[in-house]
């Protein structure tokens, strides 16, 4: 195996006086989609924020593409090649769809061919191109948030619970988008609670609880092993969708 795109080794994160991540070991292999599962409050968002440098690890190390980014500042981490779709989507509601994407394209104007490719699975973005992003529906905002992360190719994509609160029709277009990204061998770390959504998308899976990784392995193994699912995820996750 080649060196992983991202590796967290014994990462601890404190938020104020709270000890949230308590030694996270996580490996995101190159060119694969890694799913991070876990119940509410397990520390999934905190893990992504720590990777982005929005919180800093108090102990442990983060290695991205062979470089130590444990102490790096958020803009540097971003420029090193990590794109981030936060849990609240982080849309600039005052700016139009076009302007949101313009800011995400660091090389200047977004590439037209790539935009057309994105419009292929998120047609709403084309339709509302010059409209303030704040006026989009929740699903359209999620599409914009993901489009912003992929408008230029990046080495690693972090996506935090993209299906949260969305109707099945939109979840379907998200699945299409992730399949397209997988076809291009994009490396993705996808946080989810909706197991049925990620069951067929994930290559590898990690399950988190109480600030630690409690299981990691291949997704197909977990998908087949009902007993393990039961043990790790409980029923609530499976019926979540």
């Amino acid at each position: 195996m080649s060196e992983p795109m991202l590796a967290l080794a014994g990462v601890h994160t404190h938020i104020g006086q709270y000890h949230i991540l308590q030694g996270v070991d996580l490996v995101v292999p190159r060119g694969e989609l890694t799913v991070l599962l876990g119940r509410n409050g397990a520390g999934k968002t905190t893990t992504l924020r720590t990777i982005m440098g929005l919180w800093h690890a108090s102990r442990g190390a983060l290695l991205f593409d062979g470089n130590d980014v444990t102490r790096a500042a958020t803009p540097d981490i971003s420029c090193a090649g990590i794109a981030y779709v936060p849990e609240n989507m982080g849309i600039f509601s005052d700016l139009t769809v076009r302007e949101n994407l313009l800011l995400a394209a660091r090389a200047g104007e977004p590439d037209t061919a790539r935009l057309e490719w994105i419009f292929g699975f998120f047609p709403a973005l084309k339709k509302f191109w010059n409209q303030a992003a704040g006026t989009l529906s929740g699903g359209q905002k999620q599409m914009l948030a993901i489009a912003r992360a992929i408008v230029e190719p990046r080495k690693l994509l972090l996506v935090d619970e993209p299906t949260k609160g969305l109707a099945p029709a939109i979840i379907q277009s998200l699945i299409t988008a992730f399949r397209e990204l997988k076809a291009m061998e994009t490396t993705i770390l996808l946080v989810e609670q909706n197991f049925s959504f990620v069951k067929s998308l994930g290559d590898t899976v990690a399950v988190m609880d109480d600030g630690r990784i409690v299981h990691s392995g291949r997704m197909d193994e977990l998908a087949e092993d009902r007993e393990l699912q039961q043990k790790l995820l409980g029923l609530s996750l499976d019926t979540h969708q």
Binding site: S78, G90, S93, L95, A124, T135, S137, G138, I170
Partner: protein, 340 residues
């Protein structure tokens, strides 16, 4: 508010247009209401132009401050220092160039004034840069300390003005061609007020273009809404902030020159004195909103001028009353800025 709606369908109905008109209507309504109260049309024209001129100058002084707050939550109570320093710096050019200022030539008048404004903005911009580094940077994220230390910075700046220019008021006469009035029908309108309105409109238009048509401007607006996300896209919010701080300080310097010429006398505390109005304006406008700041400045100044004429006794509290009324209507100000 435009927070996320948790449930949604694919291409839901086309959402409402973003331009929020009611605050825009307040200005003409206020002016029209004042007309019968004032009674005489020429007086009303004079008062309205005076209000617009004052409003434009306050806008120029306030616009930077509202972005400084919006972008990094920094409360700068020392902003008035840039107003005073700008006005005093202008005298370095204008007093030695009295010849050009008093000459009967628009060109010479404008050249002297242009030079004075350029120097004032350069000095206040540089001062802003130093102020940000030395005074503001160490207290990022700590509001109480920001208030105390920026007020301290202003006191130091005022004392420095005393040291350089002495403790007395300094007269700053208008250039010849800007003096006097223009008759519009029966109404007498001071020329300088029209010039102040024109400069204010130019500054507003320039800011509008920068904030809407350039990438830096878009980043500033994005940063006011969600600075963390701007950083996650790979941009340094602090660099933006320093730029905004310097530009805002230079604009305050420009406002100081205009304000000084308007009053025709300078005092070291002139910036601090106007700050009360400036803070009312940015609160009314919605912290972080340049458009709101513009409308708010015009509102505050018009109300001040109308009440000054109609009921001088309540003129002093009229702006506070205006602020209370606006905040009862829109608790976040006229144009609330969406915050993450």
């Amino acid at each position: 508010m435009t927070t996320t709606t948790p449930t949604a369908t694919a291409d839901a109905e086309l959402p409402r247009l973003r331009l929020d008109t009611p605050p825009l209507l307040v200005l003409p309504i206020l002016a029209l209401l004042a007309l019968p109260l004032v009674g005489s049309f020429p007086t009303w024209v004079t008062l309205t132009v005076a209000g617009l001129a004052m409003g434009m100058m306050i806008f120029i002084m306030a616009s930077g401050l509202t972005l400084v707050f919006g972008l990094m939550d920094v409360l700068n109570f020392g902003h008035g220092a840039f107003v005073s320093v700008g006005a005093f710096t202008a005298t370095l050019v204008l007093l030695p160039m009295q010849g050009w200022m008093q000459a009967d030539s628009v060109l010479l008048n404008l050249s002297a004034l242009g030079l004075a404004i350029a120097l004032a903005m350069l000095v206040t911009g540089a001062l802003g840069w130093a102020f940000e580094r030395i005074i503001v940077m160490p207290v990022y994220g700590q509001h109480l300390k920001q208030i105390l230390i920026t007020m301290g910075g202003m006191i130091v700046a005022e004392q420095m003005i005393h040291v350089v220019w002495g403790p007395d008021q300094i007269p700053l006469p208008l250039p010849t061609s800007f003096r006097g009035v223009i008759l519009v029908g029966d109404a007498a309108v001071e020329k300088y007020r029209l010039i102040a309105v024109a400069v204010g409109l130019v500054v507003f238009a320039a800011m509008f273009l920068v904030l809407n048509r350039t990438k830096v401007g878009l980043l500033i607006r994005a940063g006011v809404e969600n600075g963390e996300m701007v950083e996650a896209l790979g941009y340094r919010i602090r660099r933006l902030f320093v730029g905004v701080f310097v530009a805002g300080s230079a604009l305050a310097g420009l406002g100081g020159v205009l304000w000084g010429l308007y009053k025709e006398t300078l005092t070291a505390t002139m910036g601090g004195d106007i700050m009360v109005l400036v803070f009312i304006v940015i609160i009314i406008g919605g912290l972080g909103s340049v458009g709101g700041c513009f409308i708010g400045a015009l509102l505050v100044a018009l109300v001040a001028n109308y009440t000054g004429f109609l009921a001088p006794k309540i003129a002093l509290v009229s702006n506070i009353l205006l602020m209370v009324a606006i905040l009862l209507w829109r608790p976040q100000g006229l144009y609330p800025v969406a915050k993450r």
